[in-house]
């Protein structure tokens, strides 16, 4: 079946250098540095990436950071909690706008 998303695109990510090698090199160097152990551990960063992947709903990122989280020593319970953090922020972001709605309603209602 035809689809905009193709799993084989993930291992081909590096081919993006074809149009501009300098920018790709700079991006991947930065990207790899971001995920090294720092003030946050590689496991914590992988879990943040997993949560963000669910927020931006990127199937490539979800595949990559499910694997990366496991390799970095996370387990299913930790990964599920990370996804719930993304979900809570997404839901909360909608719900907190309800206060705007409330103000609009109060302006026009008796």
């Amino acid at each position: 079946m035809e689809s905009y998303y193709k799993p084989e695109h993930l291992p081909r990510f590096g081919e993006i250098a074809e149009g501009n090698k300098d920018l790709a090199d700079a991006f991947f160097a930065y990207y790899n540095k971001v995920f090294q152990d720092g003030a946050l551990t590689a496991r914590e960063k992988a879990l943040i990436a997993l949560a963000v992947a669910h927020t931006v709903q990127c199937p490539y990122c979800i595949e990559a950071y499910s694997a990366a989280s496991l390799e970095a020593g996370a387990d299913l319970e930790q990964m599920t909690e990370a996804v719930h953090v993304a979900t809570a922020i997404r839901g909360g972001a909608s719900l907190v706008h309800g206060v705007q709605m409330l103000d609009h309603v109060k302006k026009v209602m008796m």
Partner: protein, 376 residues
């Protein structure tokens, strides 16, 4: 699930069932075709492989392309004895196909004596005891004492749960008196992954055993009481960065359980025996082999354990590593068509070429993997 209880008779005549967690039964017990090493090797050879330095999927070719046309030993440092396949546990990923049903394959006293004579000829500094659960061998205590008397560093590769049984509860203090390094399997610092791989209840008993080891002085930075943990992935992925994992494990085990240890080794799973069975059941064997081959790292070759370790089986045969032992790939020692520990000659060993096959990609992937942990 059916299993065979493992009964031991105490000196007072009472018996004790040495039970242990399990996630499966042995391939041997089920008479599964995959119990045969030839079947395992055939399954690995059938995997189409395109990655790696040569793209051939031939480990020898990838070694040669990396500047190692002939894999030769370095200095012999470690004498590793697999005392038998008997174990109180039956873990999902076991490369030995160990379990409580493996009663026959256990080293006898004559072979233990032959090992000690070979150790004296070998010049090794370390004797590494593995299994199965090596503690279940009736000559275990004798062998440990004989090695300690010889001034050797002794390693016990321990499944932890055995230390919570009545028969073996004394071992932490007994090991501490002798300065034995305890190298323990614990796949994850949390319960979920640990019990998934090693069986329900493993985690709780492992933590209890670690507490007992801590009480005996292990895992507090004392070089005479070194406590090492070994993690291997609970699934079809590679081991993470050893140093990074060690820091997290130390913090998490101390915070959750007040347990301390000295060192963490992160190993890859070898695609053989029961781990291979699991990969086949999951339809993951091709993806896992691809992952291993694509992660082939030439920087790991010099430090491979087969270059400084001799592996002896329960019946005294000689191998280049414990994985080759399980695949029945005997060491090719010149002039010794059936190499046996009784005839061990370090000079001949020094000149031999190490035997390799496709499973060896498990040791050269990523940061590398050996009984001593990451390599590169």
């Amino acid at each position: 699930m059916s299993f065979i209880p493992l009964e031991l008779v105490h000196e007072d005549g009472s018996t004790e069932t040495i039970d242990g967690p399990q996630t499966t039964t042995s391939l041997h017990y089920r008479r599964a075709p995959l119990a045969e090493p030839a079947e395992q090797l055939a399954r690995l050879d059938a995997v189409p492989i395109e990655g790696g330095p040569t793209g051939t999927g031939r480990f020898e070719a990838d070694l040669a392309a990396s500047g190692w046309p002939d894999l030769r030993p370095a200095t012999l440092e470690i004498f590793q004895i697999n005392l038998g396949k008997l174990c109180n546990m039956t873990c999902r990923h076991c490369h030995v196909d160990a379990g409580p049903d493996r009663m026959e394959e256990n080293m006898d006293r004559a072979t233990v004596e032959a090992c000690l004579r070979a150790i004296d000829r070998s010049g090794v500094h370390t004797v590494d005891l593995t299994g199965g659960a090596p503690e279940l061998n009736p000559h275990f205590a004798y062998l440990v004492d004989a090695c300690v008397e010889r001034g050797k560093h002794v390693i016990d590769r321990c499944n932890l749960t055995i230390l919570t049984t009545r028969r073996f509860r004394h071992l932490p203090e007994w090991f501490a008196e002798r300065g034995v390094e305890v190298v323990c399997s614990l796949p994850h610092y949390r319960r979920l992954g640990t019990d998934a791989q090693r069986g329900e209840g493993t985690y709780a008993r492992s933590i209890e055993a670690l507490r007992r080891l801590n009480e005996a002085g292990y895992g507090q930075g004392d070089p005479r009481r070194p406590l090492t943990l070994v993690t291997n992935p609970v699934g079809a992925f590679l081991a993470g960065n050893q140093a990074s994992l060690e820091a997290e494990w130390k913090e998490a085990l101390a915070r959750h359980h007040g347990v301390t240890f000295d060192r963490l080794l992160a190993l890859n799973n070898m695609p053989i025996s029961r781990y291979l069975e699991w990969l086949l059941e999951k339809g993951q064997v091709e993806a896992y082999m691809e992952r291993l081959v694509n992660a082939f790292n030439p920087a790991t070759i010099a430090g491979l354990m087969c270059r400084n370790t001799l592996s002896v089986s329960w019946d005294g045969r000689l191998f280049d590593c414990d994985f080759n032992q399980m695949l029945e790939l005997e060491a090719r020692l010149p002039g010794h068509p059936r190499p046996h520990v009784a005839d061990f000659d370090p000079e001949v060993w020094q000149r031999h070429t190490i035997r390799t096959a496709r499973h060896c990609y498990g040791c050269t992937a990523g940061a590398g993997s050996s009984c001593g942990g990451a390599i590169a």
